[in-house]
Symmetry: C2
């Protein structure tokens, strides 16, 4: 039975653009705001998944001005102040750091969980069981806990966590974080059994994170503290707008976690807790196809989001055409996505290149389409 932790604050990072889901994703309708794998959007699913572990008023959303209004619409139970819109994107370290400094002023025992807003988990209940353990471990003091996903393939698109000593059942010390490997390294990682995918989900006490930021981002931390001090006052917007862009544009992994693991002396408090709960970052239309096809009964079939469909000599296709009758004849492994103003035709293999379409549209200043 899940419990609502009085000091656990889920901080959901929702400032990404998710261009690889173009033409469905747009600047004001980023991936996390789309219902890609069901009726609820990715960010709604993220909140739904975490809600049994924390009261709604403990949630924080970090996003940008383009997305703030739509997020408010999708999460009507959160108060307006729980959604912070960055005046400029500065990656995860300033975002989560600001949350830490704000929370610390109100709850010295705060435990922060950092969560992407655009991933899916098949086994929500199993996920919460592991997460509750992570919250408890982080609450103990200096511990930093990262959720690691058991790799199932030599994926070259993710960062990996190398683990060392196993200190408890399914709890490992972190030796180091690694960048995306090449294919050969990824295969070695998979074979060794000591590597986990970096899920981007971290847990710390707010004071632990604040201390780490003061140590490793000594120029940025004071800006964040000043912004946090203004939070809830009339000065906040102006202070935020003035100081936040001065913060270093850096990920929390790179700013805080990697130096710690590399140095070694601090490594003792970095832990990896594996999660085997059907995690998927849905990084592209191809990933969405695989996720959708996997969860259906009849194998590697077509995934058709339409009113109705007819298929002849066609397999492995992903077609998104809501409300339309979709006929696929003699085609395989395609991705076809249509919206009111755009049509994408690509292959599952090349679906990661969809970002290049958005780049083109950006360059051509075809702003209505991005």
């Amino acid at each position: 039975m899940a419990k609502q932790n009085a000091h656990f604050y889920p901080v959901i990072l929702a400032g990404g653009r998710g261009t690889r889901f173009w033409p469905l994703s747009r600047k004001r309708r980023a991936k996390q705001l789309l219902a890609l794998n069901g009726k609820r959007t990715m960010i709604q699913q993220t909140v739904d998944r975490l809600r049994p572990l924390a009261r709604e008023k403990q949630f924080w959303i970090i996003t940008n001005e383009d997305l703030k209004v739509e997020i408010g619409r999708q999460l009507p139970n959160l108060a307006r102040r729980q959604t912070v819109a960055e005046p400029a994107g500065r990656n995860t370290a300033p975002a989560i750091g600001l949350a830490a400094f704000i929370l610390l002023r109100h709850d010295p025992a705060a435990v922060i969980g950092m969560f992407p807003s655009d991933h899916v988990v098949a086994d929500d209940k199993g996920f919460r069981t592991v997460l509750q353990r992570a919250v408890d471990l982080a609450a103990l003091g200096e511990n930093i806990v990262v959720l690691g996903v058991q790799p199932t393939r030599p994926e070259t698109g993710y960062g990996y966590i190398e683990t060392g000593e196993r200190t408890q059942k399914d709890l490992f010390r972190v030796r180091r974080f690694t960048e995306k490997p090449n294919r050969q390294r990824a295969e070695e990682f998979l074979a060794s059994g000591r590597y986990f995918w970096n899920s981007g989900m971290f847990l710390w006490r707010a004071d632990t994170l604040a201390r780490a930021l003061r140590e490793h981002l000594s120029e940025t931390a004071p800006y964040l503290e000043q912004i946090a001090a203004a939070f809830g006052t009339r000065k906040f917007e102006a202070t935020f707008r003035r100081l936040y862009p001065k913060c270093e544009n850096i990920s929390v992994d790179y700013a805080v976690l990697e130096p710690r693991s590399a140095k070694g002396e601090h490594a003792s408090n970095l832990f990896c807790l594996p999660v085997n709960v059907g995690w998927n970052d849905l990084g592209s239309w191809a990933a969405l196809y695989e996720y959708s096809a996997r969860t259906k009964q009849n194998g590697a079939e077509n995934v058709i989001r339409g009113a109705n469909s007819f298929t002849l000599d066609a397999e492995g296709n992903y077609v998104h055409a809501p409300g339309k009758f979709v006929a696929t004849v003699g085609v395989s492994n395609l991705v076809v996505v249509e919206t009111d103003d755009a049509l994408l035709v690509t292959t599952r293999e090349q679906a990661q290149d969809v970002g290049k379409v958005v780049k083109y549209l950006d360059e051509k200043k075809m702003t209505k389409l991005v």
Copy 2:
């Protein structure tokens, strides 16, 4: 300089359904009513092409009830009585036969030209030059003239005309009409130089055709004569509805021309006049792609009917998505067509199977989609 022939009556057959252009073509918006290769629809282009050779009041359109209203809209200069809607489809022999019997009552010197409504011709002027010669030949008396297209490939989808003696410059006697050949036969036809594609365009005097029908369709001809006698009276609709469905369902080629050529004794009045004017029957989305790509400058490229487009590692695709931005990434030789209610994804190679989608929709009684 083209002249308007006082006795030349173009009869345009516009009752076909053209299911291979689904989802653009529908029961009430058949292929001939679509603007597939320009701004004018196929039937508008057909009339435009012939207009220099005959006054508008000399045109006849044979169609069905589903298409009659839209044809009236597309050809506003034709009087309502010039469009005849068959109460039941009975192929070309009864259709052109009825036209012959009607015309004969008003103009004993009438020369009828039978024309499909859904083909294209690149060189309209060249076409008219040949056609004027055909009109003149047909007007002479018993002659039946068929326009033959010089084959450019061993096409197995067309009927062929085997020619015999060359009687004048570019005028041949017809030896026989053949059904669609297999590949080997088609290659032999192409190599021999004596075969032409049957364009479906025929010319006769109305009295010649009437005589042939009385001879070869002795049961059907009296029905047609009765219907023709009622034309222009209040009895016409009822008579038409009662008798036309009793007519034999047969093509004019099969009913009149093939028996004549096979018998031999009548062969002397059957002539083939070659036309080399960029004729194309646009039989499928693939044919439309080839026609459209051929008429553009830069080779075997993508043909995109959209508001705008972006292409990466993509070639040989036909995409129809009017008003939309179309992105093709890493795909080749596809056909993608979208309408308000449907999306077709197929290959140029398998585009001829699109009719099977319509068959499925017919069977499922999804009437809005057909």
